[in-house]
């Protein structure tokens, strides 16, 4: 058995250390070692995007990242999106717009939408659909998700300047 590795990384702004085997994925360690169970396991092969987290600012499928690769990285998970008890623009738009049903895909969609709006604050419907193509939802039919991202984009623009704690 390969020896466990000691990994130091940053998750949601905090320095975190953990032990993992080389064969463990980032998704496994987030959920099973660090109890960050907001990140969901869907297909475990990079098709569905349920496990999306941000790694050094880029969205990645955490099921296709080895936990050892997180050494010295900066990670953001769904747990780091809200500001204390205040949902951020994307979260509240998903909630108010009923952009979810069973909720398993939702953390991945929110992380992917966060990445999109950081890169492109005012995306067109087509740009939203293209950017979210790596996230699958079997319940909503996507329209409400796209609308929620549009709402969140508008809200973020009117609220810009009022920075959250993260």
């Amino acid at each position: 058995m390969a020896k466990k590795r000691h990994i130091t990384t940053k998750i949601n702004g905090d320095t975190v250390e953990f032990l993992c085997e080389p064969r463990q994925t980032l998704l496994e360690v987030l959920r099973n070692t660090l109890d960050l169970t907001g990140t969901k396991e869907g297909c475990s092969n990079g098709n569905c995007g349920a496990c999306t987290v941000l790694m050094n600012g880029r969205p990645v499928d955490s099921c296709l990242v080895l936990a050892v690769e997180a050494e010295d990285a900066e990670l953001k998970t769904i747990e780091g999106v809200a500001c204390g008890t205040h949902l951020n623009a994307v979260q509240s738009a998903f909630l108010e717009g009923a952009a979810l049903q069973c909720g398993i895909c939702t953390p991945g969609f929110i992380m992917q939408s966060e990445a999109l709006l950081a890169e492109n604050p005012n995306p067109s419907e087509q740009e939203i659909r293209f950017y979210l193509a790596g996230n699958l939802c079997r319940c909503t039919g996507y329209d409400k998700i796209v609308q929620a991202v549009q709402t969140a984009a508008g809200k973020r623009q009117t609220e810009s300047g009022t920075k959250c704690c993260h």
């Binding site: 390969a2 080389p22 790694m55 969205p59 080895l66 690769e69 293209f130």
Partner: protein, 296 residues
């Protein structure tokens, strides 16, 4: 997942030393490898992370051409202005491989080494005259991209070897390139057929000087359609010459029937896509913008 050791060397020499120990596989973005290890398709004892090797992670673009490190992630490929303008087909491919999450990690080098018959980057690399630079225990060797894949999932890489970078010649005046695939969805799908083309036009922009065409998903490996490209040299740019190139491209395609389409359907698509891709490459060579929204 199977148990393995993980190494992340910071020099090419150190990486080759680990690879030389045997039963090791290189990890770039891992979007193919991690899934394949999980499924048991590969059973490495050591995984060698190549993302800390400077030789594999740079983009060097100057008057002598382009050197693309094998592990450079796709988002950096289509985010590079020089690649978008001078090696457009490569950027076209990078934009449609997987979704955005995959593009954060996956690389052109990894896509080629995975040696999938339907790989979206390989036809572009072949069309653009890419040369694969391979390092191994016996030094460095170069293999033209069209000779790199030898069968589904199989490449010329020998045990202990690693793809370091892909070299492309400098873009010449009045040249343009494009890659397009046919899929039944708008995005996130595997090509039914993919075609990459690179053309050079004469100063008058009405005649071909040369052309290179490559086909994906219509054979056990991506295919250089040499005769189709050669047929355009010295010919006027028109429907007749472009249709003839489409016919010649069809003649080298060896598709199979599978869940994505019948062989007959794929042959038809080769003809249609070859013409569309050539027309788009010509438009780019003339400095025109093409209507190419990824996924549409």
């Amino acid at each position: 997942m199977r148990d393995f050791e993980y190494e992340a060397p910071t020099s090419l020499g150190a990486a080759l030393a680990v690879l030389a120990k045997g039963n090791a596989r290189a990890l770039a973005g891992g979007t193919d490898l991690i899934d394949q290890v999980r499924l048991g398709r590969h059973s490495p004892d050591v995984i060698v992370d190549v993302k800390k090797l400077p030789e594999l992670n740079g983009i060097q673009h100057d008057t002598s051409g382009l050197r693309l490190g094998a592990a450079v992630p796709l988002y950096k490929v289509y985010g590079h202005c020089g690649i978008c303008s001078d090696y457009s087909a490569l950027a076209d491919s990078a934009r449609i491989i997987g979704g955005i999450q995959i593009q954060s990690r996956a690389s052109i080098g990894g896509n080629i080494c995975n040696a999938g018959p339907a790989a979206d980057s390989t036809p572009s690399v072949i069309a653009l005259g890419g040369v694969c630079v391979i390092a191994g225990p016996n030094g460095t060797r170069e293999v033209p991209a069209e000779a790199f894949c030898v069968g589904p999932g199989k490449s010329v890489l020998q045990a202990g070897e690693i793809l370091v970078e892909i070299k492309f010649p400098a873009r010449v005046a009045h040249s343009g390139s494009h890659y397009r695939r046919f899929i039944p969805r708008n995005e996130m799908d595997i090509a039914v057929v993919g075609v990459g083309a690179s053309v050079v036009l004469a100063d008058c922009r009405q005649k071909f000087v040369s052309a290179r065409l490559a086909l994906g998903a219509v054979g056990p490996t991506p295919i250089l359609a040499q005769a189709a490209g050669d047929s355009l040299a010295g010919q006027p740019v028109n429907e007749v010459t472009i249709a003839k190139a489409g016919e010649l491209a069809r003649s080298v395609a060896k598709p199979i029937d599978d869940m994505r389409g019948t062989a007959e359907y794929r042959l038809h698509l080769v003809g249609v896509l070859t013409q569309r891709v050539l027309n788009a490459a010509v438009a780019r060579a003339r400095g025109e913008k093409i209507d190419n929204v990824p996924g549409h």
